[in-house]
């Protein structure tokens, strides 16, 4: 059965290509460190399951060493196409968009079709990985189409990947590292500590103060850990379930829905969230640019969520 590991192998291949691309950049500063950094990520994607937990742990520390201490150096300059090749590209007009549109179309079709496909009576692909497998298939098809359309030299995708990965830089691995930090928080029982802190520090005497503590707590704790999904279980077992539902008889469905949405407001405001790290790196923006733009919307929506929470939790909507 095909599963997520095929996608990991593909991604490992891309990171390996980037590592080689960095190693071959003659005269670039810190090219050995950059090659080691991307090489370690390639190893993680290709062989991560065979390294053992401790091996993976040392790999993470190695990434911090090469990415954080030695640094990765600059991205290579963008390639330009000139002369006859450029004239041919300009004749492509709207067809230039075709490879990018292949990705969503194949993703959509594949995630619908893959779960139904069978080989010798066995499902062809693991159903829960259908969407991500379809996305990977879309990327491969898009790459083939792009090569055919633009008649690029065979090594052009490798050079393009090296340039883009280096311009994203060490931020590329930050979201995954933050996810790992979340797991350490669970191991260290950070959630229990937060629950204790909240229950001692905030008097939850009236329904409204409990609602405010719950929604603000979701936003603030999401900002601290970078992920609403990690904050949600803590705030539900700390305030949502015992106080809002247990003591004040609120509607659990509304508490859950609005609580999570309050957490999303926190995600919009934190430099810890992958959702803010990735666009900042990909769009080559200064560190706080995306958050600065999202901040007013997040604060207004948080206030609206608190009002909605008070309204919907205590007036059971019969649906």
């Amino acid at each position: 059965m095909i599963d997520l590991h095929l996608v990991y192998d593909l991604a490992g291949l891309v990171f390996a290509v980037v590592a080689v691309g960095c190693a071959l950049q003659r005269g670039a500063p810190r090219r050995a460190s950059a090659a080691a950094f991307w090489g370690l990520i390639a190893v993680s994607f290709l062989f991560g399951d065979r390294l053992g937990d401790l091996g993976n742990g040392w790999l993470v520390l190695g990434l911090a060493l090469f990415g954080g201490v030695f640094g990765l150096g600059p991205a290579p300059a963008a390639e330009t196409v000139e002369g006859e090749a450029a004239a041919r590209l300009s004749r492509l007009k709207g067809w230039l968009f075709a490879p990018l549109l292949v990705i969503p179309v194949v993703t959509l079709a594949g995630s619908l079709a893959l779960p139904a496909l069978r080989l010798h009576g066995q499902p062809l692909a693991s159903p829960k990985d259908a969407a991500i497998l379809a996305m990977a298939a879309g990327v491969v098809l898009a790459l083939i189409l792009a090569m055919v359309l633009t008649r690029a030299p065979p090594l052009a995708p490798a050079r393009a990947a090296t340039r883009l990965m280096q311009s994203v830089g060490q931020a590329a691995i930050l979201p995954q590292l933050l996810a790992a930090l979340g797991a350490v928080f669970v191991l260290a029982k950070v959630g229990t500590a937060v629950e204790t802190l909240i229950s001692r520090a905030i008097p939850l005497e009236t329904p409204l103060t409990a609602v405010i503590a719950f929604c603000l707590g979701m936003a603030v704790f999401t900002m601290a850990v970078g992920n609403a999904f990690a904050a949600f279980p803590i705030l539900v077992s700390g305030i949502g379930a015992p106080i809002l539902v247990g003591r004040f008889g609120g509607d659990p469905a509304a508490m859950g829905a609005i609580g999570m949405l309050s957490g999303f407001c926190g995600t919009l405001m934190t430099p810890m969230a992958a959702h803010n790290i990735v666009p900042t790196a990909l769009l080559e923006l200064p560190p706080w640019a995306v958050i600065r733009v999202q901040l007013p919307t997040a604060l207004i929506l948080l206030a609206i969520n608190i009002a909605l929470c008070d309204l919907l939790v205590f007036h059971h909507i019969p649906i």
């Binding site: 993470v60 196409v81 690029a152 990965m165 790992a180």
Partner: protein, 252 residues
């Protein structure tokens, strides 16, 4: 005896609170602009050590969690295609397309994208949009192109603001759309967590109760996108005024 017991309880609580050390480490580290990889790694190690996890167990736990979270970085699989298309002039083409439509403003381009993102996410099609496969190659250059066609050359600050808005529209559309779809991660997580706390709810009710916030998000952020157009127009008018008298001075 009871005094001793109380002291132990307080000490125990103190040890439990020690595990919170990672949060200030991250806040201070990020505010002081230390290298984020080092800050996060340090926060993970300090949190574990403060909670009394043995060092090798801690490193192994970090490694296992990192390995289990590889799906987070799969988004970069798309970079070779994007890079290849950028080499072929995709971003310039995206700009050229919007420049042909005089009615398109940066705010309207982003409003349309946010609406499409929110609606498709609400139908469970979260992977149709995204920062790597849509915003960088298409949405950001289209927005910049629309701004340049309408307001002339942009300052670096305006360019940053416009690109940041492109990233933000993707986030806001996705976040406040996905909660409406019943079979997607967040609704299923809510149901599971509530069940773990002894509360049984139907996924459809959770999805339904997310609709008011989704509408509010669209209205609030949509209004801010249209305000972005007005702000850019104001900047452009000020620029024109500043340059205007100078031009007249040099005229005969």
């Amino acid at each position: 005896m009871t005094g001793d017991g109380a002291r132990w309880v307080i000490w125990g609580a103190g040890v439990a609170m020690m595990s919170l050390i990672g949060i200030p480490v991250i806040l201070v580290g990020l505010v002081l602009r230390f290298n984020p990889l080092l800050v996060v790694t340090a926060a993970a190690l300090l949190t574990g050590l403060a909670a009394g996890v043995p060092p090798l167990v801690l490193i192994a736990a970090l490694g296992k969690a990192f390995n289990d979270a590889r799906f987070v970085s799969v988004v970069f699989l798309v970079l070779p295609v994007i890079g290849l298309m950028e080499r072929a002039g995709l971003q310039a083409r995206a700009r050229a397309v919007v420049e042909r439509f005089a009615r398109l403003t940066p705010g309207r381009v982003l409003l349309a994208y946010m609406a499409a993102r929110q609606l498709s996410a609400a139908m469970g099609l979260l992977s149709l949009g995204g920062q790597a496969n849509m915003v960088r190659p298409l949405v950001a250059p289209m927005t910049e192109g629309a701004a340049e066609a309408r307001f002339g050359p942009l300052s670096e600050a305006e360019r940053v603001r416009i690109r940041a808005h492109a990233g933000a529209s993707d986030n806001i559309g996705a976040f406040f759309g996905e909660d409406i779809f019943v079979a997607l991660g967040s609704v299923l997580l809510i149901v599971a967590v509530l069940a773990a706390n002894g509360l049984k709810v139907a996924p459809t009710r959770i999805a339904f109760l997310a609709i008011p916030t989704a509408l509010a998000a669209f209205l609030v952020h949509g209004a801010r996108l249209l305000a972005l157009d007005r702000a850019l127009a104001g900047e452009a008018a000020r620029r024109a005024r500043r340059q205007g008298p100078a031009d007249q001075a040099t005229a005969p």
